[in-house]
């Protein structure tokens, strides 16, 4: 029903007033303020709808354009013609040679990114050392010379070739002498090229020298046997090794071969509990010294005495005539006696070697080895290692330098690496033609008129005789990055070689014909091309081995007595080379600086190693600086390192530092001016140096500053006798109460069932020598940044694997002293043992890092790896705090594209070495060893593509692959037949910090030392 009640708005409606009636007809009773809106003067609005659209549209397009402008232009250049073998993403491997080591080069998209040892080599058996691993970086070095230089300015090849040839012809016509100065030439084709040059310019003579000279051995072998060679030392046949200062595992001669063979005798097994006995006499603690069973500190000036004592002790035991020595000789405690005893029990199966460069000391060593019947067994002069080359000695060259007509420095830098460097520099200014084929504008090249820069070995063809009859091929793996030219080609062009066409010389053809004429013909193969291809593929080729003979001896030991120095003065200075830096020729390679010295753990510097006794006496300590003077040679601001095991009265400092030219910055101190000269051979042990304390301090950048194991059960050791008795001797189980029946520790948590693979690592501390090749290999494989000295000082180096080196100090009565306060109080630290323990992420099954990451950036994979997801990490660092092994590394800064870290990751050229399979981490994220997960994935993928299961040995992480001693084994724990399962089942296997029950996937083999167990107080490990 309709509601009849009507309510009115107001009296106006009730009365129906006319206004109201009028207004009620409008839609809006109050009317619209049209006038306000339409009159412009009243417009307070800054924009209306149209304007809004205008502004909006403009803004959008402006922003879009601005954004477009900011986007970097990146060119993607497709292959126009795809090279046959290159599939982007799939690496190609080529064999090559680094110095004297056969290597295999991994290339990606046409550029080499990683080196490995060549497993087919019968010399190195696949090992590659730290310097070898680092050498790939120098290919992409921004300091390398891209073009030939003339008088310090960039030039062209055509120009300098013409001028050099003209000058050479001129000099030759005048009859002035020409010298080609090179290092030892182990490439027969290279030697052949030099011979061709000599033929073209008959006044040429070849000068061969090395910054680190082994002339002593050459001369001794020449004197004794008429063979100026360095023999092959067969450590694999030696049950006893006595070394007088020869760092054969670190820097002395063919370390890769020695390491591999030496290790075969250092790992006792339950079935065969034997080990070689290694005795080391040395002044400076060397890498080899840290591995010795017995080490006797011996000053270099006492070495002659010691050897004569040893000779007499052996002669006595063998019933031969003893030497009439000038004075009663008593050095090195009972070391000589002990050595003689074991040597006499191992005739024909021992090695006595010396690191001295004195030919008479080396001759005496030869006599000792003859007595022991080692020639033909452990010393092979017939299958020698190196043969002496050259016609003019370096000292002669320096003397005559001022009167020479022309000099070509073939890949050598004598202005830097000889004591006569400065003298030579002034003389060079007087020579009418000086040429260098240096790779960098180094100290010598900077004073030469012409620099014809050599290509990198990775850009070159070559042939190397790594040991007599064993050849290794070098193939280019990238076309030359710049306009450099191989030194051999340069020489050939300058000698107007007949095979030159269009001013280019094809060295490849030259090598081929050389190989055909000299190697192939002895090989027994019939088809040259097939032989050539196979040899290139394998990278190595061995001619049949000669039978090692006992040589005839031309020297009487008694004649040597008067020639060997027995005077012991004050302050012997030992000049040695570091495992990383070597002679300093690669001084611009940041990895050689960043890799910690295996003994001192110092990076980015050289330093004077001093014994604690002498340091206290001189009032210096670690952090002090001193000056060193000998004759006219003097250096200042030398940092001091107090070295446990340093012989009293001896000091040591590394050569190879202090480069000034061809490097980004001068690092360390150049000690080459101190190298002495005696009877025409260089001497690296300098007597009677003056060392004075200076004011000031210098903090060395060490990656490890605490050197004692504090009595902790982290490294387990036993003697060989104990091991023979019980293979698990070092593993006396303190946790047996907490073990369940299956041997595992009592566990609160539920176990995870690893159904597929379960990856693990086994590390044998008997095999590991501490050489640190694994550190560099891992870093290059995983794009680990170089951080520089300052960051290392702040304890922020980025190495994913490190080698912990612990000293065990002992008192005079052989009691172990492990606590810091106790050994700080000892007067001297001469009686010290060392151990190397590689430490990387242990991939714990109950990882303490995984539980604490707030964002789950670190997790555990189903095949046993602890994963690190860089993209998820927010950088709280709790995982690093909670890691008991302290293996995690944080990116404190951005290490790439950052001028504060101006290493190879800061320029486009250097970045070419980066492994594309591994993320380059940004600032603020955590990283750590991944067990080379990229290699694991590649191996799995490969097996899948081939439709088969993974075999043991398919996958090898970088550290295991490069280890020259084979100390690291990787494999699948779930595969009972794998090598690692056998290693883990070994009684020597243990887990570090097992009591934490984090269940690491890495196990270590206890260290067994071949020592007599004397009256010792209970050794705390």
């Amino acid at each position: 029903m309709e509601n009849k009640t009507q309510y009115w708005k107001g009296t106006e409606e009730l009365n129906r007033e006319p206004e109201f009636v009028q207004l009620s007809k409008n839609e809006f009773a109050e009317g619209l303020p049209l006038e306000e809106v339409l009159s412009e003067s009243d417009l307070n609005l800054s924009s209306n709808r149209r304007d809004f659209l205008k502004y909006f549209g403009f803004s959008v397009s402006a922003v879009a354009l601005a954004a477009c402008n900011k986007a970097p232009v990146k060119n993607v250049i497709p292959y126009v013609v795809q090279p046959e073998e290159i599939t982007p993403g799939i690496p190609n491997y080529y064999a090559s040679t680094y110095k004297n080591t056969p290597v295999v080069v991994k290339t990606r998209e046409g550029r080499p990114i990683k080196l490995e040892g060549n497993t087919k080599s019968t010399v190195t058996h696949g090992g590659l050392d730290a310097a070898g691993q680092a050498s790939v970086v120098t290919l992409y070095d921004s300091k390398r010379l891209p073009l030939p230089m003339k008088n310090g300015e960039r030039s062209k090849w055509a120009v300098i070739d013409k001028e050099i040839k003209a000058k050479l012809a001129e000099v030759n016509a005048k009859g002035a002498a020409i010298r080609v100065v090179s290092g030892p030439v182990s490439g027969p084709a290279t030697q052949s090229i030099i011979n061709d040059f000599k033929a073209a310019y008959p006044t040429t003579k070849h000068v061969v020298y090395e910054g680190i000279s082994y002339d002593g051995i050459y001369s001794a072998n020449e004197m004794c046997f008429g063979k100026a060679v360095i023999p092959t030392y067969r450590f694999g046949n030696a049950d006893v090794v006595v070394s007088f200062g020869a760092d054969f595992l670190g820097t002395w001669l063919n370390t890769l071969q020695y390491t591999r063979e030496y290790t075969t005798k250092r790992v006792p097994t339950k079935e065969n509990p034997v080990m070689s006995r290694h005795i080391q006499f040395e002044g400076n603690m060397s890498l080899t010294g840290t591995n010795a069973d017995y080490r006797f500190p011996l000053r270099p000036s006492q070495e002659g005495q010691a050897l004569m004592s040893l000779y007499n002790a052996l002669a006595k035991g063998l019933g031969l005539t003893q030497l009439a020595t000038p004075t009663k000789l008593e050095v090195a405690g009972n070391g000589v006696e002990e050595s003689a005893k074991v040597l006499l029990n191992a005739k024909g199966k021992s090695l006595v070697i010396s690191g001295s460069n004195d030919p008479y000391i080396q001759s005496l060593v030869n006599q000792i080895n003859l007595m022991l019947g080692n020639y033909g067994q452990t010393i092979d002069l017939d299958n020698y290692y190196l043969q002496r080359g050259g016609e003019v000695s370096f000292p002669e060259f320096v003397k005559e330098a001022g009167s020479l007509g022309a000099v070509v420095f073939l890949n050598t830098n004598p202005v830097f690496d000889t004591a006569a460097g400065e003298q030579l520099k002034t003389a060079l200014a007087k020579i009418s033609l000086t040429v260098s084929t240096a790779y960098y504008a180094d100290e010598t090249a900077s004073v030469c008129q012409y620099v014809a820069p050599n290509s990198h070995f990775l850009e070159s063809w070559n042939l190397t005789e790594v040991s007599r009859g064993k050849y290794s091929f070098t193939q280019p793996t990238i076309s030359p990055v710049f306009e450099t030219r191989q030194a051999e080609e340069s020489l050939a062009i300058w000698s107007n070689n007949a095979a030159i066409t269009n001013n280019t010389f094809n060295y490849y053809d030259y090598i081929r014909s050389y190989a055909k004429a000299n190697i192939f013909n002895q090989s027994g193969a019939t088809n040259f091309d097939a032989w050539w291809n196979e040899s290139l593929h394998n990278g190595v080729f061995d001619l049949p081995v000669l039978t090692a003979q006992v040589p005839s001896n031309n020297v009487l030991a008694s004649d040597l007595v008067s020639k060997i120095n027995t005077k012991v003065g004050t302050n012997d200075l030992i000049l040695y080379t570091k495992v990383g830096m070597g002679d300093g020729s690669d001084g611009n390679n940041p990895w050689l600086h960043e890799v910690p010295d295996p003994v001192s753990k110092v990076t980015w510097d050289n330093y004077l190693a001093v014994s604690k006794y002498d340091a206290d006496a001189m009032g210096i300590e670690q952090g002090s600086i001193v000056s060193i003077t000998k004759g006219s040679a003097t250096v200042e601001n030398v940092p001091v390192l107090v070295q446990p095991g340093q012989a009293r009265g001896s000091f040591a400092i590394a050569l190879g530092y202090g480069r000034t030219h061809g490097v980004k910055e001068t690092i360390g101190i150049n000690m080459y001016p101190f190298v002495g000269m005696e009877n025409g051979t260089a001497t690296y042990t300098i007597a009677d140096v003056t060392i004075t304390k200076m004011d000031g301090e210098y903090e060395l950048a060490q990656t490890q500053t605490h050197h004692s194991i504090e009595g902790r059960d982290i490294v387990r050791e036993a003697s060989l006798a104990e091991f023979t008795h019980d293979a698990g001797a070092a593993n006396d189980d303190k946790l047996h109460n907490q073990r369940e029946e299956d041997g595992k520790l009592f566990n609160l948590w539920k176990e995870f069932d690893y159904k597929g693979h379960k990856w693990g690592l086994a590390i044998d501390m008997n095999a590991c020598t501490g050489c640190s090749a694994c550190v560099v290999a891992c870093s290059l494989e995983n794009n680990v940044p170089v951080v520089g000295r300052d960051e290392v000082r702040r304890r922020r180096e980025m190495h994913w694997i490190r080698i912990d080196r612990y000293y065990a100090f002992r008192t005079e009565n052989n009691a172990y002293v492990t606590k810091e306060d106790d050994y700080d109080e000892m007067a001297d630290h001469q009686n010290v043992k060392a151990v190397h323990q590689p430490m990387m992420c242990q991939h714990c099954e109950s990882a303490p890092c995984e539980t604490v990451c707030p964002v789950l950036a670190t997790t555990h994979s189903s095949d046993g790896l602890n994963q690190m997801t860089y993209n998820r990490c927010i950088g709280t660092k709790y995982c690093a705090n909670n890691c008991p092994y302290k293996v995690r590394r944080f990116n404190w800064f951005r290490y790439n594209d950052n001028d504060k870290f101006n290493y190879y990751m800061n320029n486009d050229l250097g970045k070419m070495v980066i492994n594309p399979d591994v993320t380059v981490r940004t600032r603020g994220v955590m990283e750590k060893c991944s067990m080379c997960v990229q290699r694991i994935q590649a191996g799995k993928l490969n097996a899948k593509l081939e439709g088969r299961k993974i075999k043991d040995g398919d996958i090898t992480p970088a550290c295991a692959q490069t280890c020259p001693a084979g100390a690291i084994v990787f494999g699948d724990m779930n595969d009972e037949t794998s090598r690692i399962s056998k290693e883990f089942a070994n009684e020597r296997a243990y887990q570090v910090l097992e009591e934490l029950n984090v269940k690491p996937s890495v196990r270590y083999m206890t260290k067994i030392r071949n020592v007599e167990v004397t009256k010792e107080t209970t050794a705390q490990h």
């Binding site: 612990y806 303490p848 604490v852 990451c853 707030p854 789950l856 660092k877 705090n881």
Partner: protein, 462 residues
Amino acid sequence: MSYESPIREPLVTGGKTAGDVTADICRPLEGKTTKLWWLGFGLAVICLCILVYTLAISSFRGLGMWGINKTVGWAWDITNFVFWVGIGHAGTLISAILLLFRQKWRMSINRSAEAMTIFAVMCAAIFPLFHMGRVWIGPIWALPLPNALGSLWVNFNSPLLWDVFAISTYFSVSLLFWYLGMIPDLATIRDRATTPIRKFMYRFFSMGWNGSARTWARYEVVSLILAGISTPLVLSVHTIVSMDFATSVIPGWHTTIFPPYFVAGAIFSGFGMVLTLLIIARKVLKLESYITIGHLDAMCRVILLTGSMVGLAYITEFFIAWYSGVEYERYAFLNRMAGPYWWAYWSMMTCNVISPQLFWVKSWRRNPNFIFFMSIIVNIGMWFERFVIIVTSLHRDYLPSSWVMYSPTPTEIGIFIGTFGLFFTFFFLFARFLPVINMAEVKSILPHKPHADSHEEVHTPQ
């Protein structure tokens, strides 16, 4: 009005009336800004600028600007974090727990203490934020927000995540409690406001409080509820912070005593800071009648209690480390006492163990100058405690090869000084614009005016 037994010290001295209360407490915020205030505020702002600068360096250049390294991953950053969070606990205890225990003496100090808590938690929150390597994304990923990646959740096992929940809860509840409690007082100020800005601001923030009986009743209920929620926070927040260390495997961290030990320590340091602030505030703002010596005495007793608990915890830790026979644990403690950071350890021991025991002496705990000095000592000691726990445990842990030393860089020191700037900037603003004492509550505890025919008014020394 409330009845207090004559043998107790009066909670408000000087025969104040309700009108006096309003006048006294509103005077500092209604008058002209004093020179002293400008001086303090200015200094605080300068330090705040240092904070902004140092945080910017750390975020833009990288955490490498700090002194931490591969072994010591946390140092000053987390020390300062725990320091500030600990300080905050006093406020919550005073506001919440003492409310539940009906301790009326809390009424004149709870507003300032709660303000201190909020500002302290703000300072604390800076550290977990900026110690992250990737500050620009970390705070977001640390939150359990459902997403399109699966969802990709956070790690609920991680104590750092529990910290996220704890600190955010703590901050939000404290802020809420503090603010709601302030509404009646803001209304009082609103009603007295003269300038338009003040009228607007205080009207806005007092949310239309009309002072009716119904509103007051709701106010009381809300206070009780929030007190109930805040109470567990006093214990839980610092327990969770202590779990950052207790759940790890590192010797010196891996110990179950941390939760109660940290909570006691937090209350200890918090009361220290409250005393530092209030002893100055009561003098400068002339509020001695409200924050009486009796209040200071009570707070000192809390310090004595919690300080003794902390001292007991130190001894227990040390004993258990020895008794356990675990060589790493034993070494951790020997290293603290006699290793390279012995000076930090012994600072901690003297400041924390010896100093609170001095409060057994009644005259000393009623002497504001002495108490002020001791409160600073307490906080220095507590800072060193966290430093010792964090740095000495980390710098020498299981494998001696990784043993390092740590020292702070100017950036880290600057951040710490800067947080004091942040704290005091806010505190000065608080003192200038907000009532530092809860007027409404204090009016409820004013002593009776004695009737002409009733008992004598009890006098107590001031």
